[in-house]
Amino acid sequence: MNETNTVELLLVEDNPQDLELALRALRKANLSNRIHVARDGAEALEFIFCEGPHAARRITDSPKVILLDLKLPKIDGLEVLKRIKGDSRTKMIPIVVLTSSKEQSDVVESYQLGVNSYIVKPVNFEQFAEAVRDLGLYWLLHNQPPKLSE
């Protein structure tokens, strides 16, 4: 949560338990550095578009990946996805939807909006931890993100 250092992973999650479990999984996988947590859609958009409390941030310092829940207070996940993927400055940021929803309509709409991956949170904690760990590893370590220009 250090603004000065480049944030590598933006975790957008309103459910405190899911948030804690996710963070625990990332920590266990030694991926807890430079994580920023947004507790609703509005906060996520302020961060990405460097508004409000994040006005000092440069938009080009984008995270390597955004883990996005769909069911969020204020502005929901699909809207956040639409804004980020609809803006030429941010559309290259990889976004992984991580949600409890198995609804086909959510999956289809997410892909139509340009999501990079859609993961359903399993009830089973081991499977959940595994999914989070794999995601973090893949996107933070293996994926080569594009260079963003202002």
């Binding site: 338990q17 899911d18 479990l21 769909l70 069911k71 409890s100 198995k102 399993p122 009830v123 904690f125």
Partner: protein, 675 residues
């Protein structure tokens, strides 16, 4: 021909007779005194010419002087009567007498007196020539004058002017000719027959023969029954005979039958001619051929009757009105009055605005008038208003009838009452509208319900699983982080908590799958069933890899269906089969297809634990289980899902089993022909 006595002569003789009879004594004296001779000789109306035996005139009386214009002195002892007679007539008379008496007779005085000279009474017509050259017809009586020894000493020619009689004769001749001409003309023109008092035909003219096709010989002597057509009633014939039998003229039209059996009509006048007793002596019948007219009349009558019959039928059936060119009603039939509730008197002379309902727009009325005004037939449905304010509908045809110039002369409107049909149509329309409204409302309600259900499913999907994840996650976190510090029993409790959470997650997943089945669209295509079954088996993985399992799949025909959903069916049935055979030493699963009730029936048969058929009705209910969870795990949703999918395909699923003797599940994907 014996000419009657001339009046003066008769009078004279009568007078003389009276003298002779009543005054016998004076007779002698009168004769002696020559009174009679003088009276005869001095009669101004008779010419008395006496000659000597040679013909030379000796006496020429006053009558002769008056008639012939000569004075006695002019002719006495000079001329003969031949000289004052027409010479041509003398020649003709001489020629005739010469032939009659076979002796030559000269065309002179001899010709005038030859018969008298033979003692034959001779009175004849003769043309005298007056002194001025003019002529006049005379009737002359010639008498030979004899002496005591009967020797002829002269001749007395007493003549009378025959001009008037001749004129009358000429007139009679002329009128006779006129009658004959008339008869000829009548014969030319008319069919004529004459019958005697008993009705026997005495005369027929040519036209009678021509029209009756009988010869004259065939007709004469017959009565008119020969041409009787049998058409007229007895009363008609009787009236005819009564009329003419009483001497009155009968006139009428008669249908007769010709010899060849064909019929002809004659306009007939029968005139009876009466005898002295006033009884009919004969009947003259004059006829004119009117067959053509009668035929035309009969045809006209027939077609008129046909028209009247049609009109009567139309009046029975339809509402009829006739209007003149300006739209004024000139005729309405009873049905018109009945439906409009107006009397005929109220309608005649009015135009149709009297029954205008105001329902139709002006353009409608305008179009109607334009159509019929141009002489074209208009057809349509009209709403009218009756006198009592009630409305009625009529299916209307208006036919314009045109005058010589092609302008409508009158309009005939024929209508049928369609009020009931219209009312029914209205009801149907209203019902349809209501139905549509209801459908729209129901659809909206259904959509709302669906949205609510979706929102509910979404919430279940999302929100119900999050707390389960927390339960499971933090239980695991305790186990991992603090496990060693917990007693064995504490660790087992945490594991049980986790198990419950996971089981609830599975239940939620199955429920959502089941709920989704209702709203998911079927995406039907022809499926390779064999491949579908292999895919399902692959997906199941190898939970039986440590078991002895034999899977027998036989001829599986292709069938139409939704591949995703049907794969779920096979997954559920096959996983059940493998699950309930777990305790068998050797598992045998048989997959196949057969025909039942005309439908392809797929089946999955296992040699597992089976079930009690008494509970078969519970097999396909949601959350219904026939086995305890500790024996065979499961949510109780699998077969409910199978049934829902099969039902949505229009098929049927059922199970057969016995405890410990395995189970067989059958399903069809189409309607069976018999149940």
């Amino acid at each position: 021909m014996k000419p009657p006595l001339l009046p003066k002569e008769a009078e004279l003789l009568a007078c003389a007779s009276v003298e002779v009879i009543t005054e016998a004594r004076r007779k002698e004296a009168v004769l002696k005194a020559g009174i009679l001779q003088n009276a005869i000789l001095n009669s101004a109306n008779f010419s008395s010419i006496a000659t000597d035996e040679k013909g030379v005139i000796q006496v020429f009386n006053v009558g002769a002087e008056r008639m012939l214009g000569y004075a006695a002195a002019d002719v006495l002892n000079k001329s003969t009567p031949a000289e004052i007679s027409d010479p041509q007539e003398l020649i003709a008379r001489a020629t005739g007498l010469s032939l009659e008496f076979a002796t030559p007779i000269a065309p002179g005085f001899e010709a005038l007196v030859f018969k008298a000279s033979r003692g034959i009474e001779d009175i004849y017509e003769l043309t005298y020539i007056r002194k001025d050259g003019s002529r006049f017809p005379a009737v002359v009586s010639v008498t030979a004058l004899r002496d005591a020894q009967a020797g002829i000493i002269g001749y007395l020619l007493i003549g009378t002017d025959n001009t008037e009689r001749k004129a009358a004769e000429e007139k009679l001749k002329a009128s006779t000719k006129e009658v004959l001409d008339l008869k000829a003309a009548l014969d030319e023109h008319a069919i004529v027959a004459i019958t005697d008092s008993r009705g026997k035909i005495a005369f027929v003219n040519d036209k009678f023969c021509t029209i009756s096709k009988y010869s004259r010989a065939e007709l004469i002597g017959q009565d008119h029954r020969i041409i009787n057509s049998g058409y007229h009633p007895k009363a008609f014939i009787h009236e005819l005979w009564t009329t003419i039998g009483r001497g009155r003229v009968w006139h009428g039209e008669i249908k007769n039958k010709a010899k060849d059996g064909s019929f002809y009509w004659v306009d007939t006048t029968i005139v009876p001619f009466l005898d002295d007793q006033g009884k009919p002596r004969q009947y003259v019948a004059i006829r004119a051929d009117i067959t053509e007219r009668k035929t035309a009349e009969e045809k006209l009558k027939a077609s008129t009757k046909e028209v009247l019959d049609l009109k009567a039928a139309l009046d029975e059936h339809a509402i009829v009105a006739i209007t003149d060119s300006r739209g004024k009603i000139t005729f309405v039939n009873d049905k018109f009055c009945t439906i409009s509730k107006y009397s005929r008197e109220e309608l005649l002379g009015q135009d149709h605005r009297i029954i205008n309902s105001g329902y139709h727009p002006k353009e409608f009325i305008h179009k109607l008038w334009t159509t019929i005004g141009h002489g074209r037939v208009w057809h349509g449905e009209i709403k009218n208003k009756a006198k009592d304010g009630s409305f009625y509908w009529v299916d209307t045809t208006i036919v314009p009838f045109l005058d010589d110039r092609g302008k409508p002369r009158q309009y005939v409107a024929i209508r049928a009452d369609i009020t009931e049909r219209k009312a029914a149509e209205g009801t149907v329309r209203q019902l349809n509208t209501e139905l549509e409204q209801r459908v729209i409302q129901r659809t909206a309600e259904l959509e709302t319900a669906n949205k609510e259900l979706e929102a509910f499913s979404y919430s279940v999907s999302h929100d119900l699983r999050a707390p389960l994840r927390a339960v499971d996650g933090f239980s695991q976190a305790v186990l991992l982080d603090y496990g060693p510090q917990l007693p064995e029993e504490g660790r087992r409790y945490l594991q049980t908590i986790r198990g419950g959470a996971q089981r609830m997650g599975a239940l939620i997943d199955d429920l959502l799958t089941f709920a989704r089945l209702n709203r998911q669209e079927l995406n039907k295509r022809v499926i390779d069933t064999g491949k579908l079954v292999r895919d399902a088996l692959d997906e199941l993985g190898s939970p039986w890899s440590d078991r002895s399992v034999e899977i027998l799949a036989r001829d599986l025909p292709a069938s139409p269906g939704d591949p995703v959903l049907l794969k779920q069916v096979w997954l559920n049935l096959l996983s059940n089969a493998l699950k309930y055979t777990r305790k068998r030493e050797k598992t045998v699963v048989e997959i196949g297809c057969m025909k039942t009730n005309g439908a392809e029936t797929f089946f999955v048969r296992d040699n597992g634990t089976g079930f009690d058929m008494r509970y078969a009705n519970k097999l396909f209910g949601v959350f219904q289980r026939l086995h305890r969870a500790e024996d065979y795990e499961g949510t109780g949703v699998g077969l409910a899902i199978v049934q829902r999918i099969i039902q949505r395909h229009g098929g049927r699923v059922w199970g057969e089993a016995a405890i410990d003797r395995g189970a067989t599940f059958y399903f069809t994907l189409e309607k069976e022909t018999t149940s």
